[in-house]
Symmetry: C2
Subunit: 334 residues, 2 copies
Amino acid sequence: MKSLSIKDIAVKANVSITTVSFIINGKAKEKSISEAVIEKVEKIIAESGYKPNQIARSLRTGNSNIIGLIIEDISNSFFSRIARLIEDKAYKRGYKIIYSSTENSVDKAKELINMFKSRKVDAYIISPIKGIEEDVKMLLEDGNPVIFFDRNLPDINTSYVGADHLNASYQSIQSFIDQGKKNIALVTTDINVEQIVERYDGYKKALEDNGIKYDENLVLKIHFNQEESETISQIKQLFEQKNIDAVLFATNYLAISGLKVLKQINKKIGDDFAVIAYDDHEAFELHTPGISTVQQPLEEIAENVIKIILKQLSSKTKLENQQVIIPAKLIIRD
Amino acid sequence: MKSLSIKDIAVKANVSITTVSFIINGKAKEKSISEAVIEKVEKIIAESGYKPNQIARSLRTGNSNIIGLIIEDISNSFFSRIARLIEDKAYKRGYKIIYSSTENSVDKAKELINMFKSRKVDAYIISPIKGIEEDVKMLLEDGNPVIFFDRNLPDINTSYVGADHLNASYQSIQSFIDQGKKNIALVTTDINVEQIVERYDGYKKALEDNGIKYDENLVLKIHFNQEESETISQIKQLFEQKNIDAVLFATNYLAISGLKVLKQINKKIGDDFAVIAYDDHEAFELHTPGISTVQQPLEEIAENVIKIILKQLSSKTKLENQQVIIPAKLIIRD
DNA sequence: CTGAAAGCGCTTACAG
DNA sequence: CTGAAAGCGCTTACAG
């Protein structure tokens, strides 16, 4: 069964499709359509359940009311929670979200940008990775609103919203040092993205500022795409072979692997072994003892992202780029 | 800057847009376009970075290569993991996913169906809720492929993939009874959806089959949309006021609230208090002691959903509906 | 107060 | 071996 078109409605109402279009788009008053006609047409639309074809509308107007969201992995709770918040807020303003996960692959990220481009999305919200600079530049040159979140690409001049990773990491290490810890390890990933680098920089800086020598043997860089069993064995090695009294995990999934190791080797978290995990996770509050974490302000990030992008969308001209850095919160649990 | 159209390519190559279209769509051979022309056009396309406008293509062909995914809440890890798997598999076959969360609201679910309809998605993957029967029937009457997963609507005649909730719940209770438990509680939600009802039925049936009297005071139905603090106080009341030696949580987020209660009231899981949680969660493996769970086979569910929907999509005619019920797995941890 | 017509960027049946 | 033209369902400048 074919669905109704504007023409069907026009025929039924005995008016032109122009008139129907004006009424659908709320321009009836402005175009001074008579009350009688408006009522008649609206009645027919309501009765028939007619919905305008958005595809045709998009082709004609050039915008789709869709915002493309490109993230690393929707099954990571940080991203799925942000996605939910963004979707929610966008929805209320009449925008839909179409999303896809890059799985940290530059090729896939580029493909996604292309496919969003060919779908004519109105704006792009991207948690970017190195290697897509040229593609993003092209989007910006074509006048598309693009906003980065979570991570930034230093070479690209566009809006960005993210947490203050360097500071959060610095404070975590400072809190270890205040507790008297001396041998502080960092378990991080080998992805070369800004927010991971910043966490590393914060670690290093806090040590140096406190006169503790940086020891590269206490830094474990886990390969991004490897099996968890491999990760676990590397962390186990670090914990068993080095003399460590505190550890900062740079991501929540690394912390989860790390906690599994502690369970396996029966090492207790307590006075002589402290742990902080970057990015909160339900498992951490529940854990005995509770795991201290760096909480990123999800709600604020989502709020700012959508606010900036909607403002850009409703403005005819290119607005100033905005850089919003939101402090992260260190939650101490025990 | 306007992006290139097929016409621009045709002009540059000095051929008609018909020819360019045939080449883009791989029909060059079939339409016996000469090798020389194919090469020339392909070169120009590659150099110019031309991408066909999918909106125009959709309007013309009537399909969008987009599959709509409607779920309860993308930030729930069950759904986000399924979404990731489905997205992945669809992507490999050239389909994109556009998703949205219903937040368990019938109105929002209906709106989403309408908006997907007006966007002309090629197929619908829905984790349905009661109250959208009429809308789904209309989709089916219009010839749209629709598949349900996780939950089913008994009145609707369409394909479905889900876990065997009744059996999983039955086996959980049976395992409690085999351990000698007598006072077994069920903490569930008040959402009236099939898979929640089945978990309840499995609970009841297992008790009856074992000659244990069903006691409604041991069943706590938590209101879906309430604050977690309220949930926690209700569970606390159940645990403190009833004499319970085992509890089955019907969803993972309820189990997480329940574990928080146990931590608060300092009740230990062990020989005289057993716990099973429905739907695994990273927190459960990590918990000390490990929490036994019912694991839904995410990969298999996603695999079947996408297989059935793609088969339907590539077939000209309406295929037989398929009902795939996949056994869930009881994982005992301690 | 209302309508005829062009055009968004494609695909495809038809013609040669 | 290749192209002119219709048409998908809308919006909107223009005309009356």
